[in-house]
């Protein structure tokens, strides 16, 4: 019998663990960026319409002002009436510009929720708002074939790493969108349940095959073609919800009837230093 390898020194174990954690964080970050990358075409479409509109309006307003000037110089009643009409046009275009700017700001806000922040950035957020921001990112990708219905109940502020939970929402939404072939529907529902928040994301896709169900949270497992699926999304999501937040991530699926994911997150995180009563975890 050969001699077993000597046990690594405690220092080495610590160093290795730190390295593994660092790599896992890096992988999770890269995965997040990749999932946004896949949505990019839709996001670009969402931004290009309002930009096109603003640029066009700007030109029309300048042209209209030139004509107003000419009309004012003319001074006769017919010219003045025309000038009045042009002012009306400018006013309605300014209103359109405002809507267009708000639309761009919404998409940017959605992207901002994914920006890299300190992992220690635990704060209280409105999860309904976060979900709506995330849906702004999938809107372009989904809108020609998937209707998204939201049923967002009243929620207390939830203490969490918002950017990480957004990644979970985005990941499950993108999966749901990919599961649906052709036209379909995704329903997002939020409720408070005691000391936790329960978020469900359901799709009308074909459901997960019974033989795949035990494996879907395993790292590297995917049913998608190479280049589309990495097999990382759900394993990262489970880690974020369960290990980082002390919540739970489960699903139910029925062949032909679609899949529903259940995300449960405690309203308050269990922290000794916070001096608050412990939250959902016991």
């Amino acid at each position: 019998m050969s001699q077993p390898d000597p046990l690594p020194a405690a220092n080495d174990v610590e160093a290795l663990r730190a390295q593994v954690e660092h790599l896992a964080a890096q992988l999770s970050e890269e995965y997040k960026m990749a999932s946004i990358g896949r949505l990019l075409a839709g996001i670009v479409h969402e931004i290009n319409s309002p930009i096109g509109s603003i640029l066009s309006n700007n030109q029309v307003i300048l042209r209209a002002l030139e004509r107003v000037e000419q009309a004012l110089a003319g001074g006769d009643p017919a010219s003045l009436a025309k000038a009045k009409g042009l002012v009306g046009t400018c006013r309605s275009l300014a209103a359109v510009d405002k809507i267009a700017c708000e639309r761009i700001a919404e998409v940017v806000r959605g992207l901002k929720t994914f920006a890299r922040v300190e992992s220690a950035d635990l704060r209280k957020v409105n999860l309904n708002e976060q979900i709506q921001n995330t849906l702004k990112l999938t809107h372009g990708e989904f809108k020609n074939r998937i209707t998204v219905e939201t049923d967002l109940g009243e929620l207390p502020p939830v203490e969490c790493h918002a950017n990480m939970l957004n990644q979970v929402f985005l990941n499950i939404l993108v999966n749901a969108g990919q599961a649906i072939e052709g036209q379909g529907k995704i329903t997002v529902r939020t409720r408070r349940e005691g000391d936790q928040v329960h978020i469900t994301i359901s799709d009308t896709g074909p459901g997960i095959r019974p033989e795949d169900r035990p494996k879907i949270f395993a790292q590297g497992f995917t049913t998608k073609p190479v280049g589309v699926g990495t097999g990382l999304g759900l394993s990262i999501s489970k880690k974020i919800v369960e290990e980082t937040h002390g919540g739970s991530l489960d699903f139910e699926s029925e062949a032909g009837a679609g899949t529903t994911f259940h995300i449960r997150v405690p309203i308050e995180q269990d922290r000794q230093a916070a001096g608050k009563p412990p939250g959902g975890r016991t």
């Binding site: 479409h45 969402e46 309002p50 509109s53």
Partner: protein, 159 residues
């Protein structure tokens, strides 16, 4: 179809703001009649009973894509020019559109007003020429068949 009638432009985009902007520009720079729809289904219905010279459509829309809509437009009014106005950064959709719906032009958002106006003017002219050509061909057909009739009667009279 008489040529002195106002040229008619159909714009389909699920974003009301795009329709408003294009309409404002065309109203200030041209004499075209602009008909805007946020629903491609309603636009298709409009095409069934109203003649247009050019149909400008967005690509990504709920329920019906721009390609599906322009395909429908081609069936209803084949002479009307078809333009895809899209913010979708995807050349695949452009190729698909050109091949499947006989696209006249592909314009990317954000668009340049002058370029769009030029495309619309040329597209309208193209549609009118096609309609004139069709009318001339059918006139020729009628003239040809009446000539044939005359020839037949002449032959009958002499033989």
């Amino acid at each position: 179809m008489s040529t002195n009638q106002k040229s008619s432009v159909l714009i389909v985009d699920d974003e009301e703001m795009v329709i408003t902007s294009v309409r404002a520009y065309l109203e200030i720079e041209s004499e075209f009649e602009v008909h805007g729809f946020t629903s491609p289904e309603e636009a298709a219905k409009y095409l069934e009973s109203n003649l247009v010279d050019i149909a400008v459509s967005d690509y990504l829309m709920p329920r019906m894509s721009g390609i599906q809509f322009l395909h429908r437009a081609r069936e209803i009014q084949p002479e009307a020019s078809r333009v895809l106005l899209t913010g979708h950064a995807d050349k695949q959709s452009a190729i698909q559109a050109i091949n499947q719906v006989g696209l006249y032009q592909y314009v990317e958002k954000p668009w340049e007003n002058e370029q769009l106006l030029l495309i619309i003017q040329n597209g309208i002219e193209r549609a009118k020429l096609l309609r004139d050509l069709r009318a001339k061909v059918s006139e020729l057909d009628t003239a040809h068949s009446s000539l044939k009739n005359v020839q037949k009667r002449l032959l009958q009279a002499f033989l």
